[in-house]
Amino acid sequence: MKVLLIIIAFTAIAAIDVPDMTKNKKWRELIIYSVIFLLIFALGVAVALDVKIPSPIKAIQAFYRDVLGLSFKPS
């Protein structure tokens, strides 16, 4: 169900964004847009399927705290 909602939402986004680019023959923009669109769509499907995606913020937290030693003590 969640995946279906993601597909519907991204179809709607494409329906809003793409016609202008194809009508004006902006092929370079369309290629860039398609790559970004597909990457975010894949991310959305992964989230919808409850795939565990590592948070970049947690990686940054570990890097600052453990590698750089930059962290305040929790109060």
Partner: protein, 390 residues
């Protein structure tokens, strides 16, 4: 997405900075957890630390009038390194937007709509943010004046109605904590809410070439710091020792207000104001991300060549030459939506991040990178002047 030079005034920008910072008032819980009854003073010390940081932004923006942060990076660092630095800033803006979206979602779920999935709340808010950007960010900046009046009115009413619950002895003892606590509080206030006005370096070209950038940034910051100090004082004076125990003291203290039968549940009105401010802040951050991404991906050869730091010719119109760029607002909003869902799994993780590492992470982008950029500009200027003399 086009930047219209001269489309906003200094006052609009000042109120926008105020509303942007005021949205983070919910996060004062972190500060109260560190500096307890002395938290109000952190708004002042945080302001003192932030003023030189904002002076760095103002100096950069004045050296490259009509340019935003991404364009300035391209000029200072060149095409390739500039894009790398810009990508880091974009990640910062996106992460801030995701964290604030998550904060807003958590706030609404826990205090207003406990049975609603957080994803639905964040999705509806982000549709609103994308719509604001689609209609033109300048319209939202105009609205900030109205938002300022609403926020200040709400604050004044809450402070006046809460006066009967105030106990001055809750302020004591004065400044008896370890010095490290005050340093932590000051750095946290300076980095997490105040330094985030870095996002406005993406909007300032809309001021136009005759307008000064520094004044609205400084005034917005000072107004917000004053308001933050008042809010923290109100929270301490009404909640007492509880201020460091509750997660959202700014909201809990308003819950105390109950004058008569019609004047109960005042926090519901306050919650609406806070949500409006948070949506405003998320929209500004999303706009900064979308504009930056659009400029990085757009085909604009002239922007990437022909610029030298010594001359830094002012042509605001060059900012408008983003003639060829894909529409990225909706896909960026979708990315932000998914990011905010997995940025943290629990409120406790979020609180731990905010109290321990977030200030250092933020200062990397708010202080370190802009300071390095300004240093490079100065060194090149000195080099050029010596070449001319030689």
């Amino acid at each position: 997405m086009k930047l219209k030079s001269g489309s906003i005034s200094s006052n609009d920008l000042m109120f926008a900075v105020f509303c942007f910072l005021q949205a983070t008032i919910l996060r004062t819980g972190y500060i109260a957890g560190i500096t307890r009854q002395d938290s109000w003073a952190m708004a002042v010390t945080g302001l003192i630390v932030t003023l030189p940081i904002v002076a760095i932004y103002a100096s950069l923006l004045q050296k490259f009038p009509g340019k935003n942060l991404i364009e300035i990076n391209d000029i200072i660092y060149g095409s390739i390194l500039g894009k790398v630095v810009s990508a880091l800033y974009l990640f910062f803006f996106l992460s801030l937007a995701a964290l604030n979206s998550r904060d807003m979602g958590n706030f609404i779920v826990y205090f207003s709509m406990p049975n609603t999935p957080i994803s639905v709340i964040i999705l509806i808010s982000l549709i609103g943010c994308a719509y604001c950007i689609h209609k033109g960010i300048e319209n939202l900046i105009y609205l900030s004046t109205l938002l300022f009046i609403i926020a200040m009115g709400s604050l004044a009413i809450n402070v006046v109605l809460g006066l009967k619950d105030v106990r001055l002895e809750f302020l004591k003892p004065f400044f008896q904590l370890e010095p490290m606590k005050y340093i932590q509080g000051t750095v946290s206030v300076a980095a997490v809410p105040m330094g985030e006005i870095l996002a406005f370096t993406m909007i300032t070209p809309m001021l136009g070439k005759d307008q000064k950038v520094a004044k609205p940034l400084f005034l917005g910051l000072i107004l917000s710091a004053a308001s933050m100090a008042v809010i923290m004082l109100r929270d301490i004076l009404t909640l007492g020792p509880l201020v460091s125990a509750v997660s959202l003291p700014a909201f809990e203290s308003v819950r105390y207000i109950s004058l008569a039968e019609p004047l109960t549940r005042m926090e519901s009105i306050y919650a609406v104001v806070l949500i409006l401010l948070l949506v405003f802040k998320i929209t500004v951050l999303l706009y900064a991300f979308v504009l930056g991404l659009t400029q990085m991906l757009s085909q604009n050869k002239q922007l990437q060549s022909n610029h030298t730091i010594a001359s830094a010719p002012f042509k605001a119109e060059q900012s408008l030459r983003q003639t060829s760029s894909p529409p990225l607002t909706l896909v960026s909003a979708a990315l932000l939506f998914f990011y905010s869902l997995f940025v943290f799994e629990s409120v406790m993780e979020n609180m731990d991040w905010g109290a321990t590492v977030a200030p250092f992470f933020s200062l990397t982008f708010e202080l370190l990178l802009p300071a390095v950029s300004l240093l490079v500009v100065f060194l090149r200027q000195i080099g050029r002047s010596q070449e001319v003399k030689g």
